[in-house]
Symmetry: C2
Subunit: 189 residues, 2 copies
């Protein structure tokens, strides 16, 4: 029996991604987002949605670029802090001890300590409602050597990304391997 | 040391969501997607991106509605199958034994057996590249009684949603609780 919960942003999984930008004075800033996802394969694009009130919003509008740094489980406290305070009032890199690394490809910084990074050029800005969606073309994906697995690719079990639970408001890790895509379903019939 | 992987849709986590639609003859169809995410809190909206070549694409354009049914770990094989074949050639509900349930709110069916369901009215259609992004306004979220937890809300550890690994192409479950959001970060300073 299904129970109705009304019009809510309640779905699983949603990510914990840290969006990196420069402000007008060149100060690096980061904010944590859960509203986002891949939105196109060609060109490869990722979307993140932000409220206009955020410091990052103005930075993306001005610099036309952002990065996504994917925190690992070990960075859960830092990622949460980055989602609580505003870069308008503090220097989140100084506060957390994380290192801003200037992207060589786009006008935005990423977090040196985080294992997986996407560097994005702003492609499209879409007003939806309270949130504005920024579509970024992914120009490069970078990953730490220590998180590479099969075929030399980043391995989700080594990256250990964080999941956000948007109503109960908890963070979870990644669990066990369930099977291979485009493979396990062949046995359904 | 970070290694560069080029312009790729490689990020974690990405979801496994099953998009439900009716075709022009009223036949229910489902397809699995990994390109999607919440994109606005008010109105509550979720985005999914599809190639024009998919059967679901034409269905959404025609019916202006879709649902998202979130599979549980136990449905991994069915969700994979739903992502392999096209509704143009087969009846995926008949093939998998899953039950199409007509939404009372939007012109689209959802999967009765899946624990968490979003019913969406098409709000916006955004051409990005190979993929078209459909923004759906979430009119209702429904969840099985059996997956409810704290405060009567759907619990990610009971829903057991599936994560898709877009390059190695594997499915993973949800892991352990890492902490509470807007809370664990307060101790960073």
């Amino acid at each position: 029996m299904k129970k109705s919960f009304g019009a809510k942003t309640l779905v699983f999984p949603t990510p914990v991604w840290v969006v990196g930008t420069y402000d007008k004075d060149g100060k690096p800033n980061v904010m944590s987002v859960a509203w986002g996802g891949i939105c196109c394969s060609l060109p490869p694009c990722v979307a993140v949605s932000l409220r206009k009130a955020t410091y990052t919003y103005g930075n993306i509008v001005e610099r036309k670029a952002f990065t996504i740094s994917v925190p690992s489980e070990a960075h859960a406290r830092q990622a949460d802090y980055i989602g609580i305070v505003s870069g308008r009032n503090t220097d989140k890199f100084a506060d957390t001890g994380l290192t801003p690394v200037r992207s060589a490809l786009v006008d935005a910084p990423y977090i040196g300590e985080f294992p997986l990074v996407l560097e994005c050029r702003l492609l499209n800005t879409i007003e939806i409602g309270l949130h504005t969606q920024f579509v970024g073309e992914i120009l490069d994906v970078k990953a730490e050597d220590s998180v590479l697995g099969e075929r030399g690719l980043p391995d989700i079990e080594k990256v250990k990304p964080i999941l956000f639970e948007p109503e109960i408001k908890t963070y979870h890790g990644v669990g066990r391997l369930l099977g291979h895509a485009y493979s396990i379903g062949k046995k359904t019939r």
